[in-house]
């Protein structure tokens, strides 16, 4: 297979396979979560489940002062790489073209050097997160192989994307193909690993807020 | 491309889009310095540098026209021009159809192609000798 054939494959059938697994996986995962159901609460309510749930979806992004002080690194590095991922994935002109091709609409992009710089920040943040995971007592203890796999699959598209943009090490078609392939790998494992939190975070935050909200506490 | 003008300045865009113009002019400056210090000549092939439309003209305009403008008729036209900066020459080769086939900036006391070539001198000597001999014989 030549490099352009490889590129055409990842842009064509490869991408298709990845999208099929991704979408089917997400929907099936949501179905298997939601259809388990939840018993109605029979206790006399003191507050609203809905407003508590919705509030927590948002408020859980902002830790209270004491939590921030105790988990400063996790919060800061977490914020950095999540913002970085958002910027690099959704505000880079070529990526928006891809979304436009699929959704039928696009949105404005950031200047390329900004996205480029953000990619570096994100890679550094992810490396720091890994170093933290490998050195912190708690993280070392609770980390599973899946955590490392997911870390690897998250940083790969960033590294290959950066390399493809700057043409480091290999020819441009190969780099671009590897970049797309790495994204496809990410899409394939997404529904079946903790990456799923990208979607279920809203659900679990809602439940948390609803449980508390019902009792009149804003969680 | 009129052949009446020795150098065609066809300026459309003069913005330094590719960021290659300034470094090139600096390279010429360094080459000139090198020529003064060591006598070493430098040749730059303008066709090896990616330039936006108008940038080549911008370079030529910056260099300007100097005292020497020579035409060469060898396998098509060639123009050898000393720019307003002595020692900086623009050598442009055309083919039969007046298309530019290559263009060089030479930083030298005189482009090699202007000098009479030893082989040509030797051939010229023979030719002249034969001509004179023929004349003598005729007379």
């Amino acid at each position: 297979m030549s490099e352009i054939e490889f590129l055409n494959w990842v842009r064509g059938p490869g991408f298709q396979i990845a999208v099929i697994i991704f979408i089917a996986g997400i929907i099936i995962r949501f179905a298997e979560i939601l259809m388990l159901g939840r018993k109605a609460n029979l206790a006399e309510p003191k507050g609203s489940e809905m407003s508590g749930g919705l509030h927590t979806i948002v408020s859980r992004s902002f830790p209270d002062k004491s939590t921030f002080q105790r988990s400063t690194f996790t919060v800061v590095a977490g914020y950095l790489f999540h913002i970085g991922l958002f910027v690099t994935i959704f505000l880079f002109a070529p990526h928006i073209l891809m979304f436009k091709d699929i959704f039928g609409f696009g949105w404005p992009s950031l200047p390329t050097p900004v996205v480029d710089a953000m990619a570096v920040v994100t890679i550094i943040a992810l490396l720091a997160v890994l170093a933290h995971r490998m050195s912190d007592t708690v993280l070392k203890f609770i980390t599973t192989k899946e955590d490392y796999l997911v870390w690897m699959l998250t940083i790969l598209p960033l590294v290959t994307g950066y390399m493809a943009f700057h043409r480091i090490g290999m020819t441009a078609p190969t780099l671009l193909a590897l970049h797309i392939l790495s994204v496809e790998l990410l899409l394939v494992v997404f529904p079946f690993t903790k990456l799923m939190h990208g979607f279920t975070f809203a659900l679990s935050r809602w439940y948390n807020g609803a449980i508390s909200g019902y009792r009149g506490v804003q969680s | 491309m009129s052949s009446s003008s020795v150098v065609q300045f066809n300026i459309q865009v003069s913005a330094d889009l590719t960021q290659n113009v300034k470094p090139l002019l600096h390279e010429i400056k360094h080459a000139l310095d090198n020529l003064i210090e060591t006598g070493q000549t430098t040749i730059i092939d303008l066709r090896s540098i990616p330039l936006a439309p108008g940038e080549e003209d911008h370079i030529l305009k910056t260099l300007g026209l100097g005292e020497v403008q020579a035409k060469l008729d060898a396998l098509g036209l060639s123009e050898i021009i000393e720019t307003q900066y002595a020692g900086v020459w623009v050598v442009t080769h055309y083919n039969d159809e007046n298309h530019i086939i290559s263009r060089f900036i030479e930083i030298t006391t005189m482009p090699e192609i202007l000098s009479s070539q030893t082989e040509d001198i030797m051939a010229a000597y023979s030719r002249l000798a034969i001509t004179l001999q023929d004349d003598q014989e005729k007379n």
Binding site: G47, T56, R70 | -
Partner: protein, 417 residues
């Protein structure tokens, strides 16, 4: 019938619902819950990381209720729940967690880890991995009616004392009373002043109230050990008594988990809504305050602080009321850092105080409360949970701190005109 692994696994399977599934789907192993848990912050032991404690439940969810887990199970790749795992997890689930729910407030994914621990305990208990002393307390609660073995004659003796001391009447089994008061064994045996205070306040407030001779025990060992069937049985006793006496409101006393059990879990445990309201004593007192039924005489000059009992504040929603009440008799009130819904547990809730095996660790993690107190140096601590109160006293003694502990209800009663 006896406890078995099969029963435990079945119990865990029963516990998984959409909340559990979404919680486990969202965990990113960030470790922030550890920083929110006093069993980690004060011991530095990573096994105390809250989300780690619910591993048995996670495994059941993964292997039974996820596509990948089920496929993995066919090939023997998905981790199993076995006796070895459960016996290893017993201390993590019962000794190193007070169900305080602080982790649930901190998790960036919104995982209610305390709820997951509660659910995990259901499986642990069904499989026979509950601590000996909790089993004992539960048996006493069911057979005798109180985890501490307090029987009706003991209560009647205490009531007699109070009536003699105060000249007030404690109404027993009054049909049609507005309020039915529940008591914890701890209050009956260690703090009879509480009964005295209630008698005083309710008389002054001029409301009708009663205590049922058939269901006076507020605590619910079934909740703590994690056996819903037993918890339901204990709740049903109260429901029966309240319906028999036709009361409008059942009052949960100064006890954390009792409030959780009767107010929030009760109707769900017995599977139908209550025909009466359930309120915490602080809610009732605050209602009295709002209605102008409480007249206060003189202010407390000491520097006071309030210890939020987890099940009442964070998990129960009674946060404003104690502060409103303290304001009535104090101008010198100071909040602990992280007060309110983010307060730190005393270290003895969720059955930990009953669990003798955990005596050492609960005193160790008291360090967290000590640090909080050291920051504000109060003259006295007010609380609204007898269990917190006993443990705070133990802790203060252990750490050689001389700060008196007061019940909010009792202090309020002292300041009545």
């Amino acid at each position: 019938m006896s406890a078995s692994l099969e029963k435990g696994i079945n119990a865990l399977k029963e516990q998984v619902d959409s909340t559990v599934a979404s919680f486990f789907s969202s965990c990113v192993h960030c470790g922030m819950c550890a920083d929110a848990c006093l069993f980690y912050t004060e011991t530095g032991c990573p096994t105390a990381t809250p989300i780690h404690k619910v591993e048995p439940l996670r495994r059941i969810w993964k292997s039974e209720y996820t596509l990948l887990g089920r496929v993995g199970k066919m090939f023997g790749l998905t981790a199993k729940v076995d006796d070895e795992l459960l016996s290893k997890w017993e201390t993590k689930v019962y000794d190193h967690c007070t169900l305080c729910g602080r982790c649930s407030m901190v998790c960036p994914m919104g995982i209610d880890i305390a709820l997951l621990i509660q659910k995990t305990r259901e499986g642990m208990a069904a499989a026979g991995y509950a601590p000996e002393s909790l089993i004992g307390a539960t048996k006493r609660a069911v057979t005798i009616g109180s985890p501490m073995g307090v029987k009706l004659p003991a209560l009647m003796a205490q009531i007699k004392h109070v009536e003699n001391d105060t000249g007030l009447t404690i109404p027993m089994d009054v049909v049609g009373a507005e309020y039915m008061l529940l008591l914890s064994s701890m209050e009956i045996m260690n703090f009879p002043e509480f009964i005295e205070a209630i008698a005083k306040i309710f008389t002054k407030a001029d409301v009708s109230w009663t205590i049922s001779s058939e269901a006076f025990e507020a605590t619910n060992s079934g909740i703590q050990i994690g056996v819903a069937d037993i918890a339901a049985e204990l709740v049903q006793r109260i429901v029966d008594a309240a319906e028999k006496l036709k009361v409008k409101t059942v009052i949960s006393p100064e006890c954390g988990h009792a409030y959780m059990a009767i107010r929030w879990e009760g109707p769900n445990l017995i599977g139908k809504p209550f025909s009466f309201k359930v309120r915490h004593i602080l809610e009732i007192l605050d209602e009295f305050r709002q209605d102008g039924r409480l007249k206060i005489n003189g202010k407390e000059e000491q520097r006071l602080t309030y210890h939020d009992p987890c099940q009442i504040s964070r998990r129960g929603g009674v946060i404003e009321q104690p502060r409103n009440l303290i304001d009535m008799f104090s101008d010198n009130f100071v909040e602990m850092p992280d007060a309110g819904k983010m307060n730190w547990c005393c270290g003895a809730g969720g059955g930990v105080s009953t669990n003798e095996r955990a005596d050492k660790v609960r005193l160790k993690v008291f360090q967290r409360k000590k640090d909080q107190l050291d920051e504000i140096k109060p003259d006295a601590i007010i609380s609204a949970c007898s269990n917190c109160r006993i443990h705070l006293e133990d802790g203060l003694e252990e750490y050689n701190m001389d700060i008196p502990l007061m019940s909010l209800t009792e202090t309020l009663a002292e300041h009545l005109e």
